[in-house]
C-alpha cells in the first residue's frame, strides 16, 4: 500500500477538500470574494473529470481496507453525483452570487455523498452520512427568504437527528449480533432472524427511509423543500437523495435478499409511491409538489433493491442520473419571480408559454420525464427498475408499482396544463429570469440520454 495509490483512490474527495480549503482561506483573508462560485465549480468539475478518468481506466482497490474502497461502478456513481452538482452550483451562482459560506457548506455536503458511496464499514458510512447531512440543515436556513424556513430547518434537524440516532443504534445492535462493523454484517443480520438482529435491521432501514423521505417517515420533506431556496431544494432533491440511495447500495450490496427484508423494502416504498403521487395532486406550491414527487421517486428507487444483486447498482445510478437531471432542469427553467413565495406558487406558471415559450418547453420536458413518459430518460430509468423487479420474480410488486407510478401522471400534466393552456393571470408577472447556463448543462445530457440511452447503459456494464 503506497502513498500515491492512497491519494489517487481518493482524488475526487481530495479535490473537493482542496476546494473547501481554498474557499475558507478566501473567506478568512477576505480576498477574491468574486471568485467563490468559480472556485467551487472548478473543484467539482476537476473532481468529476478525475472520477470519469478513474472509471475509464477501471481503477479499483481499497486504500483503507474495511472502511473505504473504490471500483468502477463506484467511480461512475461519483462521476454522476459530481456532474449533477454542476447545474445546481450554477443555479446557486445565479441565486446567491458569491457567498463563500454557501459554497463551503455545499462542497462539504458533497464530500459526504462521495464518502458514503465508497464506504465499507458502518463507521465510515456514519461519518459520510453526517458530513452529508449537517451542512444541509444550515443551507436550508442560509439566505432564507421566508420566516417558515427556521421552523422547517429545525424540523429537518430534529428528524435528521432521529435518523442518525437510529442508524447508530442499529449499527451497534448489528455489531452486537454479528460481531462485525463491516457493511456486509447488515445482510448477515437480516438473515439471522433472531430478535436482536431483526431490531437492528429495522432500525438501520428506518434511518434510511427517514433520510430518503419514504412514507410514513416523509413529513419533513415538504416543509424543508418549500422553505429552502431553489438551489438548496434542488440540492436536497437530487444529491442528498443520491447519497442516501448510494449508501443503501453499499449496505445491501449484491446479496440475495430473504423474505422479511424483501417485504420491508417493497411495501413501504410502494405506499410511498402511491401516497407521494396522490398528495402531490393537491399542492399549490411548486416545491412542495416536487417534494411529494421526490417521495414517490424514493419509492421507485428502493424498488431497485428488489432486483437481482448485480443489477442494483446499474439501476440506481441510471435512475439517479435521469431523475437528478430532470429535477435540476425543472429548477433551472423555473422563472424567477418578484419574491420567493410568489415564484413558488403553481399559479405563477399560468400562461408561461405565452411569456417565455422556451422556459415552458424545458420545464414541460422535465416534468414529462419525471412522469416516466417516453421517450424521455425518466421512462428508460423506470423501465430498467421494473424490468429488474420482474426478472427477480416479483411480478405482483412490479404491477402494483407501475400502477402507483400511473397515479403520478396527473399532477405533472396539471403543471403542463397551467403553463400551456392557462390564461395569463390578471397581474401578469413580468418575464422572470431563468438559469440558462444551468438549463443547458442539463439539457445536453438529457437529449443525449433520450436519443442514445444504450450508450450510457453500456458504460454501466451488465
Amino acid at each position: 500500500m503506497n502513498w500515491s495509490f492512497m491519494i489517487v483512490a481518493m482524488l475526487p474527495e481530495h479535490l473537493l477538500l482542496a476546494g473547501i480549503v481554498v474557499l475558507i482561506t478566501l473567506d478568512v483573508l477576505e480576498v477574491g470574494e468574486k471568485h467563490a462560485a468559480s472556485v467551487a465549480m472548478g473543484a467539482v468539475m476537476a473532481s468529476a473529470l478525475i472520477a470519469v478518468s478513474l472509471a475509464i481506466v477501471q481503477f479499483q482497490g481499497s486504500p483503507f481496507p474495511g472502511h473505504f474502497s473504490v471500483d468502477q461502478p463506484t467511480m461512475v456513481a461519483k462521476a454522476v453525483v459530481l456532474a449533477l452538482a454542476l447545474p445546481i452550483l450554477q443555479l446557486s451562482r445565479d441565486e446567491f452570487g458569491e457567498d463563500e459560506r454557501f459554497y463551503i457548506l455545499l462542497l462539504s455536503s458533497l464530500y459526504g455523498v462521495l464518502l458514503v458511496s465508497s464506504s465499507d464499514g458502518f463507521l465510515t458510512m456514519f461519518l459520510g452520512l453526517e458530513i452529508m447531512s449537517m451542512p444541509v440543515y444550515v443551507l436550508v436556513l442560509l439566505a432564507y427568504k421566508r420566516h417558515e424556513a427556521a421552523e422547517a430547518a429545525l424540523k429537518y434537524l430534529v428528524l435528521g437527528g432521529a435518523a442518525t440516532a437510529m442508524f447508530l443504534m442499529g449499527a451497534s445492535l448489528v455489531y452486537g449480533s454479528t460481531g462485525s462493523l463491516a457493511l456486509d454484517a447488515f445482510v448477515k443480520a437480516a438473515q439471522a432472524g433472531d430478535t436482536l438482529a431483526s431490531v437492528a435491521v429495522i432500525l438501520v432501514l428506518v434511518a434510511f427511509f427517514l433520510k430518503a423521505a419514504v412514507v410514513p417517515f416523509h413529513a419533513w420533506a415538504p416543509d424543508a423543500y418549500e422553505a429552502a431556496s431553489v438551489p438548496v431544494t434542488g440540492f436536497m432533491a437530487v444529491l442528498i437523495k443520491a447519497g442516501v440511495l448510494l449508501a443503501v447500495v453499499r449496505l445491501v450490496g449484491q446479496a440475495k435478499l430473504g423474505s422479511p427484508l424483501v417485504e420491508l423494502i417493497a411495501i413501504l416504498p410502494l405506499i410511498s409511491m402511491v401516497w407521494g403521487n396522490l398528495a402531490a395532486m393537491r399542492q399549490t406550491s411548486f416545491r412542495r409538489m416536487i417534494a411529494y414527487s421526490s417521495i414517490a421517486h424514493a419509492g421507485y428507487l428502493f424498488y431497485a433493491f428488489l432486483g437481482d444483486g448485480p443489477t442494483r447498482m446499474q439501476a440506481v445510478i441510471f435512475y439517479l442520473l435521469a431523475y437528478g437531471l430532470m429535477n435540476a432542469l425543472a429548477f433551472a427553467s423555473l422563472p424567477a419571480g418578484p419574491n420567493d413565495e410568489r415564484r413558488d406558487r403553481l399559479d405563477a406558471l399560468k400562461g408561461l408559454y405565452q411569456r417565455q415559450p422556451y422556459a415552458a418547453i424545458l420545464l414541460g420536458i422535465a416534468l414529462l420525464s419525471l412522469a416516466g413518459i417516453p421517450p424521455f430518460p425518466g421512462f428508460v430509468a423506470k423501465f430498467l427498475i421494473f424490468k429488474n423487479v420482474i426478472a427477480a420474480g416479483y411480478t405482483t410488486y412490479a404491477v402494483l408499482g407501475l400502477i402507483g407510478s400511473y397515479l403520478g401522471i396527473y399532477f405533472y400534466l396539471r403543471v403542463i396544463q397551467l403553463m400551456f393552456m392557462g390564461s395569463q393571470p390578471e397581474s401578469a408577472p413580468s418575464q422572470g429570469r431563468i438559469a440558462i447556463t444551468a438549463g443547458v448543462l442539463c439539457l445536453v445530457p438529457t437529449v443525449a440520454l433520450t436519443v442514445f440511452p444504450g450508450v450510457f447503459i453500456g458504460l454501466l456494464g451488465r
Partner: protein
C-alpha cells in the same frame, strides 16, 4: 436513394420539419413549410407504396440498428402488409389536416404545427416499429402532442376532455408495459436471448394461462384506444372538444393504432388465448357496433354523431379480426382505411361549417343544400361512403367483414353452435342503424327549411374544395379498385390467420372470392 433510406426519411421528415419551424418568420410561412413537408412525405410514401411488392411475407425496406444493445432493443422499422396501408393513410391525411387548419388555427401557430409534426412522427413510428420497445415508446409518446392539441386549441371543456383522454390511455399502457416486460423476460428465460423484436416474440410459445394474462393487459390498452364499448367514454369528449385537426387525426389515424395493435401484436403474440377469447371479442365488437350506432342516433351535436359512428365502424374491424376468416381479416384492414378516410372527411366538413356558423348544434341547421350546394354535395358523398354505399370504400370494408364473419360462423352453426351466427346477424343490423342515423342526420342538416346561424354563408373556397376532392377521390379509389390494396395486404392477412392457427383456406380461392366481391361492388 435506396428504399430503406426513403422509409427512414419519411419517418423523420416531421422531425426535420419541426426543427425548421422556429426559423419561419411569419405564421403564413409556418403553414407553407408544414404543408409542403407533409406533401413531400406523402409523395415519398406513395412511391414506396408502389414499390411495395405484393405476395412477399418478409418485411420490406427494413432498417435494423442496435439502440439499447444490452437489452436487445433495436431501432427496427419496415413495411409489411399490416402497416403499409395505414402508413399510406397517415401520410395521405397529413397535408389535408394541415391545409384544413389554415384558417381555423390562429393562436400559437408555430406550436400547433410543431405538435402536428410530432404526432405524425409518433403515429408513423407506431405503425413502422418492428421492435416492441420502440413500438411502446412511439405509442406512449403520442400522448404528449395530442394532450396539447386538444388542451390548447380545443373547445370549452377542453381541459377536462384532454386530461380524461390521457389518463384513460395511459392506464391501459401502464399495464401493457408490465406485460411487455414480462413477455420479454420469459423469452429470455426460455431461449437465453434478450430481444424485443416482433419476429422473435412471435416464435416464443407461452403457457395458455400466462398468455391469457398478457393478452388481457395488451387488449385493455388497445381496446381503450379503439375504443371498444364500455371503454369508449373518453372518445366523445375528446372528439367534441378537440379542434378540427385534432378530431381528424384522432378519427383518421389514432383509433387505428388500437386495431393495428390487435392485428399486429395482441392476437398473434398470444394465439391460444386469442382463440379462446374469439367469442368475447365478437361480442364486444357487436356491442360496439350496435351500441355506438344507437348512441349516434340520439345525439344533437353533429360532432358527437360522427364520434359515436366511429365506435360503431371500428366494431366492424374487430368483428373482422375475430372472424379469423381471410376475407374478414382483409375486410378489417380495408375498413380501417375506409373509416380513416370518411371520418376524417366528415370531421373536416364539420369543422368547415363550424368556422362559418360557430355552433355544432344540429337543431340550429337546416336546408343547407339550398344555400351551400357545393358543401352539401361533398357532405352527401361522404355520408353515403360512411354508411357503405356500393362503389365507395365503406362498402368494400363492411361487406368483406360481414362476409368473412358469416363464412366463419356458418360451419360452427352447422356443428350445432348458433352463437357466432346470431352475433353476426345482429352485426348486420348495425348497417341498417348506420344508414338510419347518417341519413336522418343528413336529412335534418341538408334538407328541409333553410336555417343557419350567421347567414348569409359563403360556400366552400378553393382550398376547402381541393381538400375534399382529394378525399373523395381516395374514397372512390378504394371502393372501385380495392384489388391493388387487397393484394398488398393479402399475405399479411394470411400470416395473421396462420399465426392465430385456424385451418386457412388456400390463397387462390381467397383471391378469387375477393375479386368477386369487387365485381359485386360494381
Amino acid at each position: 436513394m435506396s428504399e430503406p433510406a426513403v422509409l427512414n426519411l419519411i419517418l423523420f421528415l416531421p422531425v426535420i420539419g419541426m426543427v425548421l419551424l422556429p426559423l419561419a418568420r411569419s405564421d403564413g410561412m409556418v403553414r407553407q413549410v408544414t404543408f409542403w413537408v407533409m406533401v413531400l412525405q406523402f409523395i415519398l410514401t406513395l412511391w414506396l407504396y408502389v414499390k411495395f411488392q405484393a405476395g412477399v411475407a418478409e418485411l420490406q425496406f427494413e432498417t435494423r440498428l442496435p439502440w439499447i444493445a444490452q437489452w436487445g432493443v433495436h431501432y427496427h422499422i419496415g413495411l409489411d402488409g399490416f402497416n403499409v396501408l395505414l402508413v399510406l393513410l397517415t401520410a395521405f391525411l397529413g397535408p389535408l389536416v394541415v391545409a384544413g387548419a389554415f384558417s381555423a388555427i390562429t393562436k400559437d401557430v408555430k406550436l400547433f404545427y410543431a405538435m402536428v409534426f410530432l404526432i405524425q412522427f409518433t403515429m408513423l413510428g407506431t405503425f413502422l416499429a418492428q421492435d416492441l420497445f420502440l413500438f411502446y415508446v412511439f405509442w406512449e409518446a403520442m400522448l404528449i402532442p395530442m394532450f396539447l392539441i386538444i388542451g390548447i386549441w380545443g373547445g370549452e371543456r377542453r381541459i377536462y376532455a384532454t386530461v380524461k383522454f390521457v389518463l384513460y390511455t395511459a392506464f391501459g399502457s401502464i399495464l401493457m408495459l408490465a406485460a411487455i416486460i414480462y413477455l420479454v423476460y420469459s423469452l429470455q428465460q426460455g431461449t437465453g436471448v434478450s430481444s424485443f423484436s416482433f419476429a422473435d416474440l412471435y416464435r416464443h410459445k407461452l403457457p395458455v394461462d400466462v398468455q391469457g394474462w398478457l393478452l388481457a393487459a395488451f387488449a385493455l390498452s388497445f381496446a381503450i384506444k379503439v375504443p371498444i364499448v364500455p371503454l369508449h367514454t373518453w372518445l366523445p369528449d375528446a372528439h367534441v372538444e378537440a379542434p378540427t385537426a385534432g378530431s381528424v387525426i384522432l378519427a383518421g389515424v389514432l383509433l387505428k393504432m388500437g386495431t393495428y395493435g390487435f392485428i399486429k401484436l395482441g392476437f398473434p403474440l398470444f394465439p391460444e388465448a386469442a382463440r379462446a377469447a374469439t367469442n368475447w371479442v365478437m361480442l364486444a365488437a357487436v356491442v360496439s357496433i350496435v351500441y355506438g350506432a344507437c348512441l349516434a342516433l340520439v345525439q344533437t351535436d353533429i360532432k358527437k354523431i360522427i364520434a359515436y359512428s366511429s365506435i360503431s365502424h371500428l366494431g366492424y374491424v374487430m368483428l373482422g379480426l375475430a372472424s379469423l376468416d381471410l376475407i374478414g381479416i382483409q375486410g378489417a384492414i380495408i375498413q380501417m382505411v375506409s373509416h380513416g378516410l370518411t371520418a376524417a372527411g366528415l370531421f373536416l366538413m364539420v369543422g368547415m361549417i363550424y368556422e362559418r356558423c360557430h355552433t355544432r348544434e344540429l337543431a340550429a341547421y337546416g336546408g343547407l343544400a339550398k344555400i351551400l350546394p357545393v358543401y352539401s354535395v361533398f357532405f352527401m358523398i361522404l355520408t353515403l361512403a360512411a354508411i357503405g354505399l356500393p362503389t365507395t370504400s365503406g362498402f368494400t370494408g363492411e361487406f368483406l367483414v360481414l362476409l368473412g364473419a358469416f363464412n366463419s360462423a356458418w360451419p360452427i352453426y352447422q356443428a350445432g353452435n348458433s352463437v357466432p351466427l346470431v352475433m353476426t346477424v345482429i352485426a348486420v343490423t348495425g348497417v341498417v342503424l348506420g344508414a338510419m342515423y347518417m341519413l336522418w342526420f343528413a336529412q335534418r342538416f341538408l334538407f328541409g327549411a333553410v336555417k343557419a346561424p350567421h347567414a348569409p354563408l359563403v360556400d366552400l373556397n378553393g382550398r376547402e374544395r381541393a381538400i375534399l376532392v382529394t378525399l373523395v377521390i381516395a374514397v372512390f379509389w378504394l371502393g372501385l379498385f380495392p384489388n391493388g390494396a387487397l393484394r398488398k395486404t393479402e399475405v399479411a392477412a394470411l400470416q395473421y390467420q396462420k399465426w392465430v392457427e385456424v385451418a386457412g383456406k388456400p390463397p387462390a380461392t381467397a383471391r378469387a372470392s375477393s375479386m368477386s366481391v369487387q365485381e359485386a361492388a360494381r
